[in-house]
Symmetry: D2
Subunit: 401 residues, 4 copies
């Protein structure tokens, strides 16, 4: 009998100690990633999940035990103050991102910040400035647009980068959910502008803006959009909850201060025409992130409800046998997949978070700049802001460069 | 041995004599409908395909023989002048619709006019006025938005009308083709603003505007749109051709004067948010008319590339067994289908034209008003005009009521 | 004004005069084909739909008018006796095929005979012998396995013939319907062994046997099968009906004497392993003819419920971008499709019958042998007979060569 | 700062200490399950991953570190001898299952044994006897047919158990892979009858036999089958490898002693007709476990390549709106899913292993009998044996009850 440590111990490997702020839905997904990354990928750094921070001592203690963190803190400031934390992983609502990230960077901690980068362009700009100030000292910052790490999406990006699509003419992207179609669904923090910044636009629209720019390698230059709030008043939650659901207090109602849905058309710098739609009112669509890109040489289509698949039309195929290929992106030749199971054995939602950790850790070890950067997050924020302004003014808006 | 006439001869049935103008793609589809309708449906009128008109006597004679018309005329005016023609079926390019239709209506002929109703709002208004003037004398006018008669689409309309979708929140509609992605595709009449009026917007965008309004039973109130011409100059056609394809004269080039693609967002009068896109540059998509409607009780999705299927999500299904139903609209219970083949035996593109004839003939026999009316066609035209104005002015535009 | 005949009149073209026996479901489909073929295809012979035969004078007269036949006969013998009939098209139940076909061939008429060729191997052998006797005089015989003429299926055959699949390892084919799942569905002639010969096996199993052999270009060598009758007694039909449905006389019941479902495994001469299933009890499947073929270089998959599509996996694609291609078989490059509509405009069930007429007429004009021949029909019959024997004896059975 | 243990520490909870034998593909999947189960599910026992056993000390040490096991053993016997191991998880090739499982049970250890239960009916019978001997002492045994724990599959079982399908008429099941289509793929242990017992039949056919019996709640009574080996000789592996792939030693060749593909038809005790096919030669299909069940009231269809989806046709839906529902089995109302992510966030292959651990641990804590039992595994083995005998004898075979 021989005893072994819990994690791959390589004396030659340096340790990256992680502290996480927040432990709800995103915290659970990030924890799973920190735990799993070294089990499936050969990482250049040894990971330690040092501490998780949350205000309620009992809840954070329970979360630490469940999610696998060594210790707890009851404030994000004390987490940042710890010498044994190298990286701060921010999984709190958007209104807190700027303050935590800027403090962490100033304290010399790497930062992984959940999307949206912030609730406003101003906050996001401050965060980019903080990241730039910290960078010379080797401190790195990354924003968590995890869907980039879905293998089928990463493959899509690779095909565009390889020129397989040619000149891009069209991007159409939708993020469709349905969790508040019921007008009696309670007024959660995600429907409160002060907490969430915006509604469908910032929460899920942000993802398709990032994906569209990531896959095409291009940026949105101008937009015309419209925000809608179909249900303007809702019952208050029965108690303070932070998640996606919960009971309603039917006696008291409050105003919905964010958009239920957002739609906009866009022009990309390279001339492509984009059509975007984000909604929480698409009954029957649960997490349908759909993106289709049409170029002069090829086309791509993706739907997260079938996330292991990328559809690819190669315009070079002859007319009689051409057609969209259903690529099951589970081969060793596909991004990230050599580390997982044999071909045809699917991966799920949380694996993208693991890939995010893998890429981040590799970049940190190599001294590279992890991607997407805070500047990428800011660019997304600027697109969202332009959509809001456009909706308010009923005019096209340029995205501030 | 007993001899029988070629068509169902019912002495008690009156005859409707039809004259058609134009015999290209649309003329072939309409002829197939006039020939087939009485073979599969029990019509209240006996149909005669009296005459087809076209400028070139040889070509029109060949077309008459091929398509089944009894005689030919070399001008639409002489067709209208014939006493033995009760209905004029207009299958020519859009720039001729107004003149022919107004003359035919003035001559007391019923009119079936291919879409778009006209190339401008002004022409369309004049046509509506002509239809109103003719109506008291029992003369009827119809515009040919045939996709309404795809059984799956007609079923979609029925479900909305029956309240199965509840309040409509979203309409997303796309009409995707790819036939001019190649920058060397020749400059056909469909790329010439004088002939075609507009490009993708009027040619195929018109269809999804009509379908969206038909299925929801609502009208588009305002729009913000963008037209794009990706390839601004093309080789001239090697010879005068009128169809969709043909060889190019690579030595000479001319300007493309219409849009290659159009996208717009819209608000419906009832509060729904619409997203529309029409393009001839979606490589790999051949005739993908896609429309999805999300309501508070149910959702619908359709794609013409699988035209016998309607996807329907019934929000009343319990959570564990709910999901989009793939309705194969080939049952006798589905619109129009009792006349065709057993369940599971699909119909094709041209059957919708047959259904259009069936509905039109039934309406004429009953003295009813065929639908879609010229006023419906005008409303579509006004939406398209608002999109163009919006694209030019970079502002939202109301659709003139 | 110029008068034109009803059909393309080319004085240089000879006329092929057709007589049809039977006018139910198959008769309607065949009539549509005879009417349509010259409208869309340039045929070397001029077609005349001379006469249709049926026992009931009133019904056959109504059918003639509706389906477009010039005259009627009340017996198939008198039809065959007519000098002005060149080809006899047999659309009656299987128990009459042999007698009619043999008589027609002996009278020097070409024969197009609906599938199954006959209700027994003996009858089918006699028909093949009759066809062979008639052949030296230029008389031709064809059996109507129309699904071969679905463009996607014809494309599948072409890909195999071109070597794109390599060595064939697997064929899996299903023909799934559900029209008698209800145990109270009446006992139609199709459930009567004397009339129909067999149940699901002969009616629909015959089609997938033919398709499997056609696509692979190989023949089934041996089988092991099982027939099942899930509902052994049913109410008698309320009246004599010949179609697929009708009311039941709930007071009287009779035995079901054919199989409700048939399944068998097979070895092809070339070494492929086949799995076949035909059933009328697959609830929710209406006319699902599914066939998948796996070879050493490529794979194919087809489902008639999406009949314009062929799925093709090209094993030569690189691992990262390989996947089943959804080929929308509506391009001019696809079999038969240049004659119809632009790409993306689907065709339906009945178009395959038109293609059958086109191929038959071309073969007759060229003096060629139309395919599938009566010998092909006999081979299918032998496979079905081997399945029945196997089911009875619980052993593998060779297919008599 | 507060320190926390690595796993949820509940003093009131007893500990279940696990030892695993084997650490290749299955060992990695099982380890992931042992690690994850307590992170997402509230388990009645505290889990410890005590030790992993393997012959090579260096490799097993590396595996322990990577997979999260506290210690190592270099023989399965020493693992079984340890007092601090309560449960032995067997992840080795099938030829070792019987010996290890019987010894572990005799030593009073619970056993989780990967499928197939054994390489022969005799071994499986001995294992069942050993499980029965151990049971009175509270020792439990389970065989790892993990696909039962795919939520969509568990939902399928629930629907059948609830009577939503009515009387079952048809089961058609396929397990399609393509990893040895290339005749130059090396002769791995999975192609060696001594190691693997059988080829496609036992490796993947076992899964669809189990799934068919599980979903229907019925048992296969008799079979007629055929095994095929398309490539009878292959290059030897370049070195000893145990996984699915590896380089070939092109100079030396050896015989393939197992089946490449297996097909069989079956009768269930309840009268249903089954059609089964398992192959490693279905080019383009990677891990396509497809099962369709048709009953008198409803139908089900599943494909593992889209594993989060169950298609369900409810025969009680009215004819106009009926159709297969695409149920995205990611709702809290679906089996196991409340523990994971919000609706629409997919899970992957390995999650079924986690569910297996959850069910097993719950059963152990409650003193229940985990399912599938060794007797269930034996029944599958008997079906496979009957298929082999049938293939050898070319006759139908009853499955020994």
């Amino acid at each position: 009998m021989t005893d072994h440590p819990d994690l791959p111990a390589d004396a030659a490997r340096e340790t990256l100690s992680v502290g996480m702020v927040g432990y709800a839905f995103m915290g659970a997904a990030h924890s799973q990633a920190w735990r799993n990354a070294p089990r499936f990928f050969d990482l250049p750094l040894r990971l330690r999940m040092r501490a998780v921070a949350g205000r309620n001592p009992d809840l954070v203690a329970a979360a630490a035990a469940r999610l696998g963190w060594e210790s707890t803190e009851t404030s994000w400031r004390s987490l940042i103050d710890r010498d044994d934390v190298d990286l701060v992983d921010i999984c709190t609502p958007g209104d807190t991102h700027a303050e935590i990230a800027i403090a962490a960077l100033a304290a010399g901690k790497h930062v992984l910040c959940e999307k949206p980068l912030a609730n406003s362009v101003e906050e996001a700009e401050a965060m980019v400035a903080a990241a730039e100030r910290a960078r010379p000292a080797g401190v790195r910052a990354m924003v968590g647009f995890t869907y980039r790490r879905v293998p089928a999406i990463a493959l899509a990006r690779r095909l565009v980068a390889d020129g397989r699509l040619g000149r891009i003419h069209h991007v159409r992207a939708q993020y469709l959910q349905d969790w508040i179609v019921d007008p009696e669904a309670p007024l959660s923090w995600r429907l409160d502008k002060d907490k969430a910044g915006s509604g469908a636009l910032g929460d899920i629209g942000a993802h398709i803006v990032d994906l569209a720019q990531f896959i095409t390698g291009d940026a949105i230059a101008s937009v015309s959009g419209r925000l809608e709030t179909f249900v303007t008043e809702r019952p208050l939650p029965a108690d303070h909850h932070t998640g996606l659901s919960g009971a309603a207090d039917t006696a008291r109602r409050g105003p919905v201060t964010v958009d239920d849905a957002a739609a906009f058309i866009a022009r990309f710098r390279g001339g492509a025409l984009g059509v975007f739609e984000a909604t929480r009112f698409a009954l029957g669509r649960k997490n349908a992130i759909r993106i289709e890109v049409n170029g002069s040489r090829g086309s791509l289509a993706f739907d997260f409800e079938d996330m292991n698949v990328l559809h690819f039309h190669d315009g070079d195929d002859d007319a009689a046998t051409g057609g969209f290929r259903r690529i099951l992106a589970t081969e060793a030749e596909h991004p990230y997949m050599a580390a997982w199971w044999p071909p045809g054995h699917l991966i799920g939602y949380e694996h993208s978070f693991t890939h995010q950790v893998v890429d981040l850790v590799n970049d940190l070890a190599a001294g590279g700049d992890p991607s997407p950067s805070f500047a990428d997050g800011l660019q997304v924020q600027r697109v969202l802001a332009a959509v809001e302004t456009s909706s308010d003014s009923a005019t096209w808006q340029d995205v501030t460069p």
